[in-house]
Amino acid sequence: MSVQPMSVPDLLGRDQFEVDEDEPHIVVDVRICATCADKPCVAVCPAQLYTLGADGALTFDHAGCLECGTCRVVCRAGGIVRWTYPRGTFGVNYRQG
């Protein structure tokens, strides 16, 4: 098999996750996002968890988060109302690092 450019879902499929279904560690208020002009989270998130719909509205999903914190540092408009690490044992489990 040759190394090809891979899609995000394919790449995330190589990782191991323990998704916390009860308590999302990142909470986004999309009403605030509607007022955010450049939406920097979209281009930076390596897991592409911030996506724009056809209507330009933002949606977010915490499953697949690599816990880097980049969205948190670029979000100036305040749409990310909560950003913590996942609860203990939850989240990504790097086996290489």
Binding site: M1, S2, V3, Q4, P5, M6, V8, L11, L12, R14, D15, E18, D38, K39, P40, V42, A43, V44, C45, P46, A47, Q48, L66, E67, C68, G69, T70, R72, V73, V74, T84, Y85, P86, R87, G88, T89, G91, V92, N93, Y94, R95, Q96, G97
Partner: protein, 427 residues
């Protein structure tokens, strides 16, 4: 409220290299230590490019490098300048001088490395508590007296924040402010499996030996670069870029790394490989300027990348060695007793860390030269390519070729002079 007898001497938060080094040295000095880590194992949340300078392991404990599960000893250093389809590689072979017969630097994979290091700390008496996320500090009368995790409190004489780049604890303690997007790079990385013989063939190294490769000009003009490190049976390929400039670049962090994999300079090096893992992590890029004025308060100190102890020199990142060295200094300060800030500063000074970081302070200005990330690599490639272009015509003098390349790349001479001045002043 827990009894005093239940309290330990020290709680270290974060089983990365800084936290493990600190806890290990405290245990060796006879202190009772709990090392709290949110991951299920030490290393399961940690990401680096992969080069560790061994002097720092030896500073934790002489002989540690030999015992460590590193991947390969770095014997080849490469810098690749590239644009969309061209590249020029500078390759320096031959191991750099190091003390004894130790390699000066080795490649590591954190999941394996940190787990081993934490095991060693446990064997020395550290109580490792994994799968626990510390939620906040316990503060009484202006003094940090413990931590809160999952609604429970745990008390200690001293709490050490070794919780890495996003350090929420150092912020809660009031020692650092919000992390700014200018102060960090986002690293996105793939670990790609390749067999050992293939790696040795492609990188021109022997068994157990490896290469460290840094790439410039592959980030769509965004402040940053890429790295490629050889492991035992895989390579670590990644980009580190300024998150601030991504939106304007018209590409994404994911797209940039995938484009790099398809670049003619990279493709043959990773051909036939299988991606094992996709990872991302922030890294501080503001050097000494990002280190807080105060590193301690009553019952609390901050160490490792949480304290900003990272140097990004462009051709190499030094976060792991500084994490180890600062973790040791934190342990020494706690053992010394008295005022934590004073003892910690003294221990850090003895380690040479502040002097090292101050000496590299100007690199932030050098790295701030925007033309470094697209224009200059293109310019250099144009000049070199024209040098190697031979046909029936009389060759143009090199200075004419350089001027033509500067025009083609829209670089006025005064800009080169200005950047050159910044560059010379900064190094």
């Amino acid at each position: 409220m827990s009894e005093d007898t239940e309290a330990v001497d020290v709680i270290v938060v974060g089983a990365g290299l800084a936290g493990i080094a600190c806890a290990y040295r405290l245990a060796l000095a006879g202190r009772s230590v709990v090392l709290v880590e949110r991951g299920t194992t030490a290393g399961s949340k940690n990401v680096s490019g992969g080069r560790l300078y061994t002097y720092a392991l030896e500073a934790v404990e002489p002989g540690l490098t030999r015992a460590a599960p590193f991947e390969r000893a770095v014997v080849r250093e490469q810098i690749v300048m590239m644009d969309d389809d061209r590249s020029m590689t500078v390759s320096l072979a031959g191991p750099p001088a190091a003390a004894g017969d130790l390699p000066a630097s080795v490649t590591v994979l954190r999941s394996r490395f940190d787990a081993w290091f934490a095991d060693r700390a446990e064997a020395a008496g550290v109580m490792l508590a994994t799968g626990i996320r510390v939620d906040s500090l316990l503060i009484e009368d202006g003094r940090v007296v413990g931590i809160m995790a999952g609604g429970e409190e745990m008390r200690a004489g001293v709490v050490v924040a070794a919780d890495g780049v996003n350090s929420f604890l150092a912020r809660e303690a009031g020692l650092v402010g919000e992390l700014s997007a200018h102060a960090v790079g986002i690293g996105v990385k793939e670990v790609i499996a390749l067999d050992a013989a293939t790696i040795e063939d492609r990188f021109g190294v022997g068994p157990g030996e490896g290469a460290a490769t840094l790439m410039l000009g592959c980030t769509a003009g965004v402040h940053g670069g890429a790295f490629l490190y050889t492991n035992s049976g895989s390579v670590s390929l990644g980009i580190v870029v300024s998150p601030d400039q991504m939106t304007a670049s018209g590409t994404t962090t994911h797209g940039m790394l995938q484009a790099l994999k398809a670049h003619p300079a990279l493709r043959p090096l990773i051909a036939g490989g299988t991606t094992l893992e996709y990872a991302a992590h922030l890294v501080r890029e503001d050097g000494w300027r990002g280190v807080p004025k105060r590193l301690a308060r009553g019952g609390f100190l901050v160490t490792g990348e949480a304290a900003g102890f990272v140097l990004n020199l462009g051709y190499t990142v030094r976060g792991m060695d500084l994490a180890l060295v600062s973790g040791v200094a934190a342990a020494e300060a706690i053992v010394a007793g008295g005022d934590l800030e004073t003892a910690y500063r003294a221990a850090l000074d003895r380690s040479g860390l502040p002097a090292t970081m101050r000496a590299a302070d100007g690199y932030a200005d050098l790295m701030g030269i925007e033309r470094l990330y697209r224009t200059y690599p293109g310019l250099v490639l144009d000049v070199v390519q024209s040098m190697f272009t031979v046909d029936a015509r009389a060759p143009r003098p090199l200075r004419t070729q350089v001027r033509a390349a500067m025009r083609a790349n829209h670089v006025p001479l005064r800009a080169v002079l200005r950047d050159g001045l910044v560059g010379v002043r900064s190094i």
